[in-house]
């Protein structure tokens, strides 16, 4: 437990070689005889030598470390993004240094990712990117933004970014519901006017219009991405004179609340009301019934963002200023055929036996 630092020089003396030789051995560089390598490694082991990260970073001019700024640490999607990022980082011999937002300490949040500590910064929204801008500009560090899309606008021309295709995802959700024969479809939206939210809303509306169904503002209930508001919004929809047979929730967590509300109302999912979410967080497959949802490629987004950052650091430049990754329909058990055969002109799956 002694904090006495063992240095490269100590190892060199112990092994009877130069510091440079020890450095080469420790860094697995070629051009060292097997005999000296063994001897040095023994000394390293005996003395318990560990490289001093700061000294290495200072001398080498790079930290081989990527900073990751996270909005919080409990949103399910965070870990998925991180997993993707970690994979790429590991493959590139980079470490990941994670920091999470301290409310009202935006400047410091960025500040701790000073040069010498990290070579680049990956910022995962949501967060007011604006509040970071000043700090970011002083920092002069390569930056890539990942926008999984709940609370913040994703179009920011200042930094390369990675986003999911929210609009097409919403259309996929609607097509699924429509193909099941649903005509009266509710939407649980959000209070924020962020780009991803608006895109999902647009997907909902245009999906309806494309199918020749008139919009009904009563079918759009407002939530704020939480289970609680999802519950309440669904309740509002169920209380309608003509309630929906399907509900499209803006995110999985809202969908969980909606399922709860349907059950609480004495109805069954999906027999009476179908529910579809958006995101495909790990929990989506674990709830009862397992949630049909639109998968946001979180892992891939983390990986792609990290690759972009690596390119930026190595001076290759970002592959593209804003990368849009495709979303995907994941059919599980929370959606089923429309219980009301309102329209016999819909052949699709409506008449298919389950």
């Amino acid at each position: 437990m002694s904090t006495a630092t063992v240095t490269l020089a100590d190892v060199a003396v112990h092994a009877g070689v130069s510091k440079m030789t020890v450095s080469k051995v420790v860094n697995r560089k070629p051009g060292i005889s097997e005999a000296t390598r063994t001897r040095v490694l023994e000394s390293v082991e005996t003395l318990g030598y560990t490289v001093h990260a700061s000294a290495r970073a200072l001398a080498a001019g790079r930290a081989d470390t990527l900073g990751v700024l996270l909005p919080d640490l409990y949103s399910q999607y965070i870990s998925e993004i991180l997993r993707g990022s970690d994979e790429v980082a590991l493959g590139a011999g980079q470490e990941l240094l994670i920091s999470t937002t301290r409310v009202r300490h935006e400047q410091r949040n960025i500040g701790r990712f000073s040069p010498g500590l990290v070579d680049g910064l990956l910022i995962v929204l949501p967060n007011s990117l604006q509040s970071y801008e000043r700090a970011l500009n002083t920092l002069r560090l390569p930056v890539v933004v990942i926008a999984p899309g709940e609370e913040e606008a994703s179009e920011n021309p200042q930094f390369p970014s990675v986003d999911a295709d929210h609009y097409t995802g919403a259309r996929l959700a609607m097509d699924h519901l429509l193909s099941l024969g649903h005509r009266r479809i509710g939407f649980i939206s959000s209070t924020t006017h962020s780009a991803p939210s608006l895109k999902r809303l647009r997907g909902y509306r245009e999906g309806l219009l494309t199918a020749g169904i008139a919009l009904d503002r009563d079918l759009e209930a407002t939530g704020d991405f939480t289970q609680q508001t999802g519950f309440r919004a669904a309740r509002t929809l169920l209380a309608l004179p003509e309630p929906p047979t399907a509900i499209f929730a803006i995110n999985d967590v809202s969908a969980f609340g909606a399922i709860e509300a349907v059950k609480d109302w004495g109805l069954r999912v999906p027999e009476d009301v179908s529910v579809i979410g958006f995101d495909d967080i790990p929990q989506a497959s674990q709830v009862y019934p397992p949630l049909t949802t639109i998968r946001q490629p979180l892992l891939e987004m983390g990986a792609a963002g990290t690759r972009q950052l690596l390119n930026l650091i190595h001076g290759v430049g970002a592959v593209s200023d804003t990368l849009i990754l495709p979303t995907e329909l994941i059919v599980r058990s929370s959606t089923g055929p429309c219980p009301i055969s309102t329209d016999s002109s819909h052949p699709d799956r409506a008449g298919r036996p389950m």
Copy 2:
């Protein structure tokens, strides 16, 4: 966006002072005239100077940074611990550097917290501490272990640790249920034989025995801390010839599954079956009905662990080798009086109107 580094020397030249003076200004040290301070600060602003973290750490001999090793990033309790830790760290002028476990990369997990990067390490279990031991010993860094207690033994004599009082917490849960008139109480346990799990189980059993109720192994259903297994375990209990009127789940997430199972079974919480959890994760107050639970002082544990680590780093020594923090009963709406008046000798709240 230029990565060209502006150094202390550049600022010194620009401001027409020595490097030392710039250093003092930047580090807010006394003994600088207001005039030079202003001039230096202007140069810093103009040139966009940022301190080089590694150079500072190398020269100063300390990084003013604490490493935090986390088991994962999606368990609800993690963020609470971190919040407590962050508060203390911020107050002590320390930064937090978070890293999360890479499966089968334990050595590297520790390795990236090399001296020069961090001054000490906070390890949040669960995780096989054993797999870290070798790396930890080579590292020679002060270490404190926080054991919020789901999957790993918390008694490890090698490092100072912070833990919650699991046994007393479980007794609190049982006393609450018993005082509501429940006599037939089920327990959703875990598969792991970790110290915290065993303590909670012991609290369940001894609570029963103390109340003069014989143990019934059928009332102990096994889960593994997940909502899914909580659901299944509760189902098993409800299917019993003589089902319980109350269920004590080993953690909140299991309790969520239990509530789901009770509803799914066509019964109500708490009118027909009471459910109590353990942990008090943020979600506990947001589910429906809000969960009665035993609060584990996660925030305080993070804070206390960080204080211990700071003491260790400053050579003060840990306040205590293992700190046990108290747990607390949080009454919400998932528990109520026993619906069956089996025993009129129990006055408590059984006969109270709701």
